[in-house]
């Protein structure tokens, strides 16, 4: 746990699709754009690979926020993987909000390979939102921290 006088640094788990958003993160790095080190990127081959259980597990094991990102609709490397994700995640987001998780902790976005700028802005914005919300304690297993 962080001490009171220290600034709270949130942990954000990010699931990125290999073909778009991971590339965007890469291009942001190549362009030497600064973004907060709070996100932990997990690369998946397609956003369609992301099971709602991944998100729940991340929250259970102490993530303060989760970001899911893939290609824009129509741009999917596998034609329609992200469109299935869109349906699944619509419901997951509703259920998580329904159970009392703050809406600012779970984000879904479409970022294409060339949108390095959008990626940096989004990560900065989400980090700030989660930082304001403070540590996520609701879904976290007790004593799992560190």
């Amino acid at each position: 746990m962080t001490e009171n006088n220290e600034k709270f640094e949130p942990k954000i788990v990010a699931f990125f699709c290999n073909w778009c958003t991971y590339l965007a993160a890469d291009s942001a790095g190549v362009a030497r754009k600064q973004y907060p080190p709070n996100i932990r990127i997990i690369r998946v081959m397609c956003s369609g690979r992301i099971d709602p259980m991944f998100v729940l597990k991340a929250f259970k094991e102490g993530a303060d926020g989760v970001l899911i990102s893939g290609c824009h609709p129509g741009d999917c490397h596998y034609e329609r993987g992200n469109l299935f994700t869109r349906r699944r995640m619509a419901e997951l987001k509703n259920l998580l909000n329904y159970m009392g998780l703050e809406p600012g902790r779970f984000h879904i976005s479409w970022i294409s390979g060339s949108e390095g700028g959008k990626f940096v802005d989004l990560v900065q914005e989400i980090t700030e939102t989660v930082r304001e919300l403070g540590p996520q304690t609701k879904f976290t297993k007790v004593g799992f921290d560190e």
Partner: protein
């Protein structure tokens, strides 16, 4: 004895004697008037055991799938004949849903449908009887009859009246499909739809702040003892291997404890709050677009968790987001198995 009960027995006897069905799944009398148990009849002599009345609460469609779990002995051939089953309106939706998922075929079952006017909740009627000071013996042994606005129980020449709104199950008040959607034979004339869609309890929860919602769900979910009764009773929860069970791991003397530890660790079996939430949310994610709101999970829950608040929520979301209702059309594609260009995307940045 009601007319439809007699009609059912005649039909079942005929089906069994002619050998058209393997066995019939119905209800038989239980320990008292309001607790009935499911029964499987394969001998025409036993047909008189079958009952049907407003006390037959359980959803029998789950038992059709038991047939598929059966392991054949060597040399034994599969019996191709269908299974007979009796369904109410709400149970028929489960069967339609299973058919749309290709889990059962229309030729696998012979369905006797009963248009339903409401089913008695055993817990509610016990509470009402306590208020009316009906002796326990009378409650246990009474014979039930349906009237237009309630139920009449008869015992020892005395009659007790129960108003319908006090004793029927919560799901009956919002029931939109009292008549079976699918059936080979109807045992009664079709009834009017009297239920009204009501999501007021869901909307009330939705309007709360995150912390208020969490306070409610924290107290609900910490009750859970992870007996998995909700999963077992659910007609559409039929996976051979559930994410909760680690039974697919082959253990040999060389298997290290670390391997066992790491296998199937999505959800631990311990009844801790985060694990309980994970379990129920995962179940709801798997039920999305498939749950027909038959209310069985809430009925069997030994801890009284209000699971209907979750199942109704996913039903409402499926309707609002995707204009989809499960268990209504036999040849509909599963909700999460298809997509549309214009699916809602206002939550995506």
């Amino acid at each position: 004895m009601s007319n439809r009960e007699e009609k059912m027995r005649v039909m079942v006897r005929e089906l069994l004697e002619s050998g058209k069905i393997k066995y019939f799944i119905g209800y038989e009398g239980g320990s008292d008037a309001f607790y009935v148990s499911p029964c499987f009849i394969s001998n025409p002599k036993d047909v008189d055991k079958l009952i049907f009345g407003p006390n037959c609460y359980s959803n029998l469609s789950n038992y059709i799938l038991e047939e598929q779990k059966k392991v054949l002995k060597r040399g034994e051939e599969k019996d191709p004949r269908p299974i007979g089953i009796i369904v109410k309106g709400c149970d028929s939706r489960s069967i339609v849903q299973l058919m749309s998922e290709n889990k059962i075929k229309a030729a696998d079952v012979i369905i006797l449908g009963v248009p339903c006017k409401g089913i008695i909740d055993p817990e509610k009627i016990e509470a009402v009887a306590k208020k009316m000071k009906i002796p326990g013996k009378a409650l246990m042994g009474m014979k039930l009859a349906e009237t237009s606005d309630g139920f009449i129980g008869e015992f020892d020449g005395k009659e007790y009246k129960f108003p319908k709104s006090d004793v029927t199950m919560d799901k009956c008040k919002v029931c939109m499909y009292p008549n079976p959607i699918i059936s080979n034979e109807l045992l009664d004339v079709e009834v009017e739809v009297t239920g009204k869609l009501d999501y007021s309890d869901i909307e009330k929860l939705e309007k709360m702040t995150p912390d208020e919602k969490w306070k409610f769900w924290e107290s609900e979910m910490s009750k859970c003892i992870r007996c998995h009764a909700c999963r077992e009773v659910c007609p559409v929860c039929y996976c051979k291997e559930c994410v909760v069970d680690p039974h697919n791991l082959v253990v040999s003397p060389k298997t290290q404890s670390k391997t066992k530890e790491n296998k199937s660790m999505w959800i631990e079996r311990s009844a801790e709050l985060p694990e309980n939430i994970f379990f129920h949310l995962t179940r709801m994610n798997h039920m999305f677009g498939r749950c027909t709101n038959c209310g069985e999970c809430e009925r069997v829950c030994p801890m009284g968790i209000r699971l209907s608040l979750l199942t109704k929520k996913i039903e409402k979301d499926a309707k609002e987001l995707f204009n989809f209702e499960s268990g209504v059309k036999k040849d509909e594609k599963p909700l999460l198995g298809v997509y549309k260009e214009g699916d809602p995307d206002d939550f995506i940045r």
